[in-house]
């Protein structure tokens, strides 16, 4: 826990001026607000002793003046402290996001997006409460407590002691309840994220749910999660509803003690009636700090737990970094010569090896095609080249340099990648295509890339052409349109190495043909890695690798592989047969 708080400290000190000023205002405000009962005491004693109207007016004016001074202090206290907490929240959120950007793909596959989201929003909110409002309330609370007790002692030490007897109970209750409440709260949050996941999944897959008539099943899944959520909430409610009343009860006990012993003190003449009134007032003033104290403890407990949850993310060492990078590597022009040597790969955390001993090389102008059964490791191989997952050292080389030694950004800027399931942002078509360019999309380049990817005709059909919004707030692209937009996006990079993972699977035959012809020009000056299922797509590659279970089982050109009479040849035969049958 201390370690966690230490990690928070730099953020707090970055706002230290505001924090210090805020604490100063707290001291002032507290001091001022505690003098008010003193005035009360004099008024009452005065009245008993025969006051004049002038002293009354003086007291009233003092009371009002103090309140104004107090208000000014509290205004600045809030401004400074809450303002500081917003500044800290801002810095934390930035850093959190920046760290998330450094974490590799595998992290996002292993963690739920919804969970990361809740750390960035509700956990961050809890941390802010801890560094802002909690400090504010703690400051005024602790000070108020000390000063009030001091003043009470000055009136009557014995009575103070008696009045404070029930108060340790308050702290104990706060601690015990606070801990249990905290645990229950965590369980509730976990169930809430479970509930959200059920809803999210059910809504995102609405067509499947409807088509397979899963509505009743989804309802029962949801119902179970909903029931459990309420169930967990109820046990929290039972605790909480006992907690706050018990605090008031303990304070009430103090009040009773003061009534009995203070009252008899007045009767015995040990203290004056004014003392008694002021004492009661202090006790009331004391009750707020103590309740707030319980509240502060809860906020701090929750804040620390939340901060630890955020730290789990922020302390995750990015698995793919520039740690081994040589800043000089590939600093000049990248040629694009790709080489893979004895590459074997296992996904982190998995037991099964996905790729085994893969070797090949390709120079600009050359195309390496990869074919193979579903799940044979084609996408994995392609993802290792831009280091979406990290290949073992000494296995993948660009221009003769181990890619692990090339700064990530330089490596990736040399590549244009079309993933098997492309992701587009809810932005305009132009911005999506020019995603690799910062700033306004270059019109001509976007149009050229779109036309090379065969997307131009589609775009002219969209309401606002290249300025049409894509995604949730705009048009929904079909699978084929998405793929072509992703191809255009990759082409706009002007990459040295072009990587296409089954990038034409959802495109119709006519379009596929056109794109392939246009890509042929692009491929002439670039190294190209492509995965495809159709022989027609891969037949003119310079090297074809046939993968099976992560191993290269056949390699060669189309002609040599056909002559070899293996898996590839039978694939070819099969596809040709289909065509011949159909055409005959």
């Amino acid at each position: 826990m201390w370690r966690a708080l230490q990690r928070l400290w730099p953020y707090v000190t970055s706002a230290r001026h505001a924090m210090l000023a805020g604490v100063l205002w707290i001291v002032l405000a507290t001091a001022i607000s505690l003098t008010a009962p003193l005035i009360l005491k004099y008024v009452i004693d005065d009245l008993l002793a025969g006051a004049t109207r002038a002293t009354l007016a003086l007291a009233a004016a003092a009371l009002l003046g103090l309140a104004i001074a107090d208000g000014v202090c509290r205004y600045w206290m809030r401004q400074r402290l809450i303002g500081a907490s917003r500044a800290i929240e801002y810095a934390l959120r930035n850093d959190f996001f920046a760290h998330l950007q450094r974490l590799p793909l595998s992290y996002y596959q292993a963690n739920r997006i919804g969970d990361l989201m809740s750390r960035a929003s509700s956990d961050l909110g809890a941390v802010r409460l801890m560094v802002g409002p909690a400090v504010m309330y703690f400051g005024s609370t602790a000070l108020g407590f000390v000063i009030a007790v001091a003043l009470m002692v000055s009136i009557d030490p014995w009575l103070t002691l008696l009045a404070l007897i029930p108060l340790p109970l308050v702290s104990i209750a706060t601690h015990v309840f606070g801990k249990a409440i905290h645990e229950k709260f965590d369980r509730i949050q976990a169930q809430l994220s479970e509930l959200s996941a059920v809803v999210q999944e059910s809504l995102a897959g609405v067509r499947v749910v409807r088509a397979y008539r899963q509505e009743p099943f989804e309802l029962s899944r949801f119902g179970a999660a909903n029931d459990e959520y309420v169930h967990r909430n109820r046990s929290l409610i039972r605790l909480q509803s006992a907690f706050y009343p018990s605090l008031s009860f303990f304070f009430g006990l103090s009040g009773l003690v003061v009534l009995w012993f203070g009252g008899s003190g007045v009767i015995n003449g040990r203290i004056t009636l004014g003392d008694f009134a002021a004492f009661s007032r202090y006790l009331v003033l004391l009750s707020w700090p103590l309740i707030a104290f319980g509240w502060v403890i809860n906020i701090v407990q929750r804040g620390i737990a939340s901060w630890q949850r955020m730290l789990e993310v922020m302390d995750t060492v990015p698995a793919i970094t520039d740690a081994e990078a040589d800043p000089a590597a590939l600093a000049g022009r990248v040629v694009g010569r790709l080489e893979v040597r004895h590459l074997s790969f296992t996904y982190p955390g998995a037991t099964q090896q996905v790729l085994t001993d893969i070797s090949f090389s390709a120079s600009p102008g050359q195309t390496v095609a990869i074919v193979g059964a579903t799940g044979s490791g084609k996408s994995t191989l392609l993802q290792l080249v831009p280091r979406l997952h990290d290949p073992p050292p000494g296995t993948v080389f660009l221009d003769g340099v181990d890619i692990r030694r090339v700064p990530l950004e330089r490596l990736r800027r040399a590549m244009g990648v079309v993933p098997q399931e492309p992701f587009l942002f809810s932005d305009t078509v132009a911005h999506n295509i020019a995603f690799s360019r910062d700033g306004d999309p270059p019109k001509d380049a976007v149009a050229a890339a779109a036309s090379a990817a065969g997307l131009d005709a589609d775009v002219s059909g969209f309401g606002h052409g290249f300025d049409t919004m894509v995604g949730e707030r705009g048009i929904t692209l079909s699978g084929g349109q998405k793929q072509r937009a992703a191809i255009a996006r990759a082409l706009l990079v002007d990459p040295k190495v072009l990587i296409l993972d089954d990038a034409l699977s959802a495109v119709d035959t006519t379009t596929e043909d056109a794109i392939l012809r246009r890509l042929r020009d692009v491929r002439e000056t670039r190294t190209c890695l492509l995965v495809a299922h159709r022989i027609s797509t891969v037949r003119d590659a310079d090297l074809i690798l046939v993968l099976d279970g992560g191993r290269v089982i056949e390699r060669g050109t189309h002609t040599s592989l056909v002559a070899q009479g293996g898996v590839y040849a039978s694939m070819d035969r099969r596809q040709r047969l289909e065509q011949e049958l159909a055409a005959s």
């Binding site: 000014v72 499947v208 706050y244 009534l259 992701f423």
Partner: protein, 600 residues
């Protein structure tokens, strides 16, 4: 008709409130209990200063120690009563609140399950999620802390006022003289905070949307080295969020001290006037002390009320959005009248002059007519965007036709009970949707009657068993979020197995094998031949080779069926299909070259 985020209620809206209170109705007994507890608790709270006043005037001032002790026992009793009442009040109200939220959440989700696909086209999932989670939570705040304690506050306020008036009406008037100023300050605060709150809400939504999108697309951001840019964008929203929040501090920082100063003013006036009268013996000192205590307690509920007003306002805005969703009409209610229709028809499908537009009169399908006889296998081809998927969506009645009709076994789909209509189809889509759970639960979905054996058989038929068997826990292997650790083709195989396991009369495939290697695809097709014998099959494909042996092929072009027939007939026709076919040799120049001349 989409459900908007930015609806902001006027703070208090009686129709909304009435509707919310409807949810309270089943718990009226509990509400009464809580109400009594609130009244009792407030009275017990009020009694404490009164007892103090009595103690001073009746006992301490007259040196009556005995009486003081007796009075102390009353005080203790009141403390205990207050504890009990407070416990009952909070626990009952929160329990009831939870039950109501449970109901609201269930109602919303149930309604979402009934709303048609069209609704989901317009409403992004993220926004709908907010309805079920965040908005319901805003209601929770209202039930657990807001509305109900508002009654407590009001009772407290009026109780205090009554007691003060009863004790000394002149002094009471003096104390109340600051009330108009309080009303004014509160109105000012409310107005500004509401506007500010709206801005904050909008920015929080923006932050979340940005985060959601960029976490999902992080791989793409990294591939294109755009971290710096997206950081900049994020930082800009974050900064705006900070600034708007800092601005809101101003209102709070000013409001609370103003209330405090007004309270002090009232106190000062009481001292001035009360002291004056005390000197003239018109007011006792006990009354004066009690007044000072009451005036303190009198301001507490007022600032509480304004705090609660915020909660109330948030809850009102949330409930407006929730009710907006619940009021969205279900356009395709299941017609209960025809529920006795028999389920097992042969699977004859007829499109009769069907026209369809997603929006207004931008027709996506124009005058589509065709018949699929039971057991026939129908292929659908056409360019991207020509309307193939739309045909299928209409068949499963995701949307209703604009004109014309669709008959399944002679009955208009609009007359079929939805449930029974869809029971006849097995659908495989291009975009696979996996649920959290295991491999086998993704094949079986909610159908308990599909045995493990049947699951395995379905998987085997589509050759998914080859990879499932290699997984560490086989069919019980958990599926990661969105199936992240499976290859795309493997996910497609699973959804194929799902369709087979359901054993439908009509199998509908929408580019279902696009990410599967041709070898496996061929094997699947062979399996389909045997499995689907005697059943109707609809297969959309963008690769002619996958559908050339279908009984009939429909060629869709710009929303119309332009050609229809067997592969051979279509080639002979020399139309669109022929042209689609013709381009194939360009991709595979050395294959058997089925040039126009080669076609019969």
């Amino acid at each position: 008709m989409s459900v908007q985020d930015d609806a902001i209620a006027k703070g208090y809206d009686s129709t909304l409130m009435r509707r919310l209170l409807q949810y309270l109705r089943p718990y009226w007994l509990w509400v009464i209990v809580a109400f009594i507890a609130i009244v009792g608790g407030s009275l017990a709270d009020l009694a404490q200063p009164w007892l103090t006043a009595k103690a001073i005037d009746d006992h301490i001032a007259v040196n009556d120690l005995e009486g003081l002790w007796r009075l102390g026992r009353w005080f203790l009793l009141i403390l205990i009563t207050s504890f009990v009442f407070e416990y009952i009040q909070t626990s009952v109200m929160q329990m009831v609140g939870q039950k109501i939220l449970h109901t609201v959440r269930r109602d919303v989700f149930t309604h979402l399950q009934r709303l048609d696909v069209k609704f989901y086209d317009r409403n992004p999932v993220g926004r709908l999620m907010t309805r079920v989670t965040t908005d319901v939570d805003a209601l929770n705040d209202m039930f657990s802390s807001g509305v109900v304690t508002v009654f407590g506050d009001l009772i407290m306020l009026f109780g205090i006022m009554a007691i003060m008036v009863a004790m000394d009406w002149r002094l009471a008037l003096v104390a109340f003289s600051v009330l108009p100023f309080i009303a004014w300050a509160t109105a000012w605060f409310r107005r500004n905070v509401r506007e500010n709150y709206r801005q904050v809400r909008g920015l929080v939504a923006k932050l979340n949307a940005f985060l959601q999108e960029h976490l999902t697309g992080m791989g793409t951001v990294q591939l294109f080295s755009q971290q710096a840019r997206s950081y900049r964008q994020f930082e800009a929203i974050n900064r705006e969020h900070r600034d708007v929040n800092i601005q809101s501090i101003f209102y709070y920082a000013l409001f609370y001290p103003i209330i405090e100063v007004l309270a002090a003013l009232s106190g000062a006036l009481i001292i001035l006037a009360g002291g004056w009268w005390a000197l003239e013996d018109q007011v006792s000192i006990g009354v004066l002390v009690a007044f000072l205590q009451y005036s303190r307690r009198f301001f507490q509920p007022i600032s509480d009320l304004s705090e609660k007003f915020n909660i109330l306002q948030a809850a009102m805005a949330a409930s407006e959005r929730i009710f907006g969703l619940l009021d969205t009409p279900v356009e395709m209610p299941t017609s209960a009248a025809s529920s006795d229709r028999r389920v097992d028809g042969p699977g004859r499908i007829e499109f009769d002059r069907v026209w369809f537009a997603y929006k207004d009169d931008e027709f996506v399908l124009r005058d589509v007519s065709f018949v699929a006889e039971p057991g026939q296998r129908i292929g659908i081809v056409g360019a991207t965007g020509s309307g193939k998927t739309t045909i299928i969506s209409l068949l499963l009645r995701f949307y209703d036709v604009t004109q014309g009709r669709i008959l399944v076994d002679g009955i208009d789909v609009r007359e079929w009970p939805l449930e029974q209509l869809r029971m006849r189809f097995g659908l495989v889509l291009q975009d696979v949707h996996l649920f959290s759970g295991t491999i086998s639960s993704n094949i079986r979905l909610g159908r308990e009657d599909i045995t493990d054996e049947a699951v395995r058989e379905a998987a085997k038929a589509v050759h998914a068993d080859r990879f499932v068997d290699r997984l560490p826990q086989g069919y019980d292997t958990p599926v990661a979020e969105r199936g992240a650790t499976l290859s795309v083709g493997q996910k497609q195989l699973l959804s194929f197995a799902r369709a087979l396991a359901f054993d439908p009369a009509v199998l509908v495939l929408d580019e279902a094998t696009s990410s599967i290697d041709t070898e496996t695809e061929g094997l699947i097709q062979d399996a389909l031949h045997t499995l689907m014998a005697g059943r109707t099959v609809f297969a959309i494909a963008h690769r002619l080779s996958t559908i050339q042996d279908m009984d009939r092929i429909l060629v869709v072009h710009k929303g119309q069926i332009r050609e229809s027939g067997t592969h051979q007939e279509l080639l002979a026709l020399g139309g669109i299909y022929f042209k689609l076919w013709e381009v194939r040799p360009l991709i595979a120049p050395t294959s058997s070259d089925p040039s126009p001349a080669a076609a019969p």
